[in-house]
Symmetry: C2
Subunit: 329 residues, 2 copies
Amino acid sequence: MSKCRSCGEAAVIDLPRHNANFCSEHFLQLCRRQLSKAISDFEMFMTDDRILVAVSGGKDSLALWDMLIDAGFQADGLYIGLGIGDYSTESGAITRRFAQERGLKLLEVDIRNEHGFDIPTAAGVTGRSPCSACGLSKRHIFDDVAQREGYDVLATGHNLDDEAAVLFGNTLRWDVEYLRRQAPVLQAGNGFGKKVKPLVRLTEREMAAWCVVRGIDYVVEECPMAVGNKHLLYKDALNVLDSTSPGTKASFYLGFLDRMRPLLEHSASITAPGSCPRCGAAAATSDEACAFCRLVETTSGHEQIPVRMVLNKKARKLFDAQWGSQHGD
Amino acid sequence: MSKCRSCGEAAVIDLPRHNANFCSEHFLQLCRRQLSKAISDFEMFMTDDRILVAVSGGKDSLALWDMLIDAGFQADGLYIGLGIGDYSTESGAITRRFAQERGLKLLEVDIRNEHGFDIPTAAGVTGRSPCSACGLSKRHIFDDVAQREGYDVLATGHNLDDEAAVLFGNTLRWDVEYLRRQAPVLQAGNGFGKKVKPLVRLTEREMAAWCVVRGIDYVVEECPMAVGNKHLLYKDALNVLDSTSPGTKASFYLGFLDRMRPLLEHSASITAPGSCPRCGAAAATSDEACAFCRLVETTSGHEQIPVRMVLNKKARKLFDAQWGSQHGD
């Protein structure tokens, strides 16, 4: 049986990139150190900052919230009801229970109640990919609430796998503007609040293990609308490489921040955005509504389109297996 | 049955990244155009330049030589006998036959006759990976012969798959110095001759098809010493991505040249190399022998080590299946 590198007790997890096994206690210690290193290396926030955590009910965001509280930070949660059928219902219930059990403050925005649409309907009406409509809406609402409620910083649960996969996609396309903007910290400015990703040094698998060890219940299923998107394809490709050479994923992402990003920064173009004439949020110009307000305008009040209707064949098959096919057709 | 996009006749090949099928004639035309575009876009050489083609007996280098002659260029071949058992024997025989049948001039260097070692022995004695010892030796000898024999340019058969895989490896490590140097043309200077890669716009599969259509016999087997190297792993990963989104590989490599490389160039550090006190070749300093001369010094005259002896378990298994296990143990 494998033993913990730190104490020699029975190990509960092997971490090939650290070439070691760990018991529960020393695994948690390793996670705490990686979190702490990310927070200080990238100057994310201080102990007296008020942090708003964007929580989805998945392992990453709940683990992040738990880790921040565990480390003594002041962190409230923000959950957005995206209206993705049973997936959203379950996510919301799990998130609320997590907050209640720990006496934490959870803010909520229901996108249908407040803006008159939901993600499946937005995808169906506009023909955008669901992930694109969802990302746009979440970025807007998270930033809006964080600034309105006076938080110093918004923290999201993007982990190393997420960031490496996004970097991988931007690199395959050599999208220099996106590469320039990819960072674990986006400073406040141009009308946007500060955003940080404290989990960039921790993997998806480590976050799942954190939840298991800490007894955190989370939504295990991937979002049914994300099935087959490129982000998941890039994650798979990186995992294949990482299984052959453990640490490939981490050195790809952290090496980018260390060695490539500095070369891109000094040639960065500065955009001077205006503000949306409708909601006041930062926007490319002041001449027309921001992308979120345009989405609201197109989709708000539209007859609701069920999740299953906007899935491709592959996603629908998985959806039926996970959630049953009775949910609207 | 699928039809040629150009003439409607029966197609012999489908090219997903061009979203089309082609008959033999129009496939060859497409290859000729891609070759011609690479030569002119990257200013590789002119009609009156004397070209030396580095030929291995594999599909890429033989196709390249054939394409250059076909396009009216003056191109001689250079074959290096690397001493990799039956693989080298077969490669040499195929290359000589190719040249003889077409009345082309083939230069030859046998590394054991001229330098007293072979690649398996060099790998065994030094503990270097075979691919590293081989690459070092080939670069040195190709450049040396091209300059001594007065060729204007050395052309190698690196195709789009090769270059994309090298770029992929350099990107995963964010090796900025290697990224800076990765180009389809290396200009003459610092004691080195000009080097070009005319096949950078054509894939491995297209080169195999060129050989089939043109009736070129080539060594089908990969080098037995290359099995399991990272280069092949990166090729596989890119092929998986390309099969999902045809054109990913091409846009990754060509997009790098187009958008990222220009950003790296102006911050390039200039090395002012010396020359090797032993062979006179360009080297980092003039104080010690160049890497090739050091390799010769360490390995020359050493008792010959058979290929099979320096293979890892996986490579040995494949080797035995392809070449038989009687070759030395």
